[in-house]
Symmetry: C2
Subunit: 206 residues, 2 copies
């Protein structure tokens, strides 16, 4: 009896996993708007109602897909050590890996930001721990530029760099950069990182 | 006869203007996805076919709406002189006016970036001159930090600051900032601007 129950739970988990994989494929090839309960059930050859036995709603599936996208980014960033010669070099390498991942996974990446936000503002995101793990990597790289006790400023710098990188990558994905001239995404990243770090170093000296 | 022709052209231009205004209202209240030729014709009490006598397609109307959005932003930025005491103060004021405009016109603003890009990459945007006029304002503010001959670096700085501001405002509009903690859009703007400018000043000294 316990064994049978475990098997049923395993089946359920295996089917949920197949849902998330299939949803990821649909989003990756056609974008979030192509994902419907009917489409998903059709591809998996199950009844539409099965979806709602396994998930509260379609958003729950998208959250799971977004989780795997963020795990993929984390893996791409951690694939090899960051260059150790300077904070700038480490941040540029980190940004380039981020941009490379975003370009290779454009629809999956956009799905992260197309989902409705979680309620009125201050609740946690479903994938918040994954975002925070990514920020922690940036904060780790920035550590030599801050004194003990300056964690809030370091956290703000990490978020500014991420927001800048987010702006650059969204403009690059939307093909908004090239027509505006003078800069590729990589040029902008270099200017973003180098000026920010030079600014932090200057603050340290003054 | 010439008078009658002119009247007809004026009527045509007046009707086009009403189209753009009505499309702007629909986008502002319900977002770009709510804009359809049928809806627009219904609101204006004209036949759907009339739209295609006046415009090549719906995109042409959206481009015109986007043009008025960018004009509105330019007006909001130029409403009063920027503070003259420092480059930082001018850039922060400029950014705050930008953020204020974006927050007040969120759907119109998002429509600017939701439209498909113009072909394969390097063609001009329909509203490119308006974007360049906005960059010119930022470049003007940055001028004291660059030597003659450094126009390319100045242009790159203006675009990095804009990309950063774009990233911050898109995250703020999507309510992605608050749950990630530590920073409001205004805090991030201040860190973005101050570190960038400090970095440029440090480069100047070295």
């Amino acid at each position: 009896m316990p064994k049978a129950t475990r098997t049923r739970i395993d089946d359920r988990e295996a089917l949920k996993k197949r849902y998330v994989e299939e949803a990821g494929k649909i989003i990756a090839t056609e974008g979030l708007s192509a994902l419907t309960a009917r489409r998903l059930a059709g591809n998996l050859a199950v009844a539409v109602g099965t979806t709602y036995n396994l998930f509260a709603n379609l958003d729950e599936i998208v959250v799971a897909v977004n989780g795997t996208t963020l795990d993929g980014l984390a893996a791409a960033i951690a694939a090899k050590p960051l260059p150790a010669e300077s904070v700038e070099a480490a941040l540029i390498a980190l940004s380039d890996r981020y941009l490379g991942f975003v370009r290779k996974n454009r629809n999956l990446w956009q799905a992260l930001f197309e989902m409705a936000p979680p309620g009125e503002g201050n609740e946690a995101f479903p994938n918040q721990p994954r975002f925070e793990a990514l920020f922690a990597v940036v904060e780790g790289v920035l550590t030599p530029l801050f004194l003990p006790g300056e964690e809030a400023a370091r956290a703000r710098s990490a978020r500014v760099l991420w927001a800048g990188l987010h702006g650059i990558s969204m403009l690059a994905l939307g093909q908004r950069l090239a027509p505006l001239g003078v800069a590729t995404a990589e040029d902008l990243v270099e200017t973003l990182v180098c000026c920010h770090v030079a600014g932090l170093r200057a603050d340290r000296k003054s």
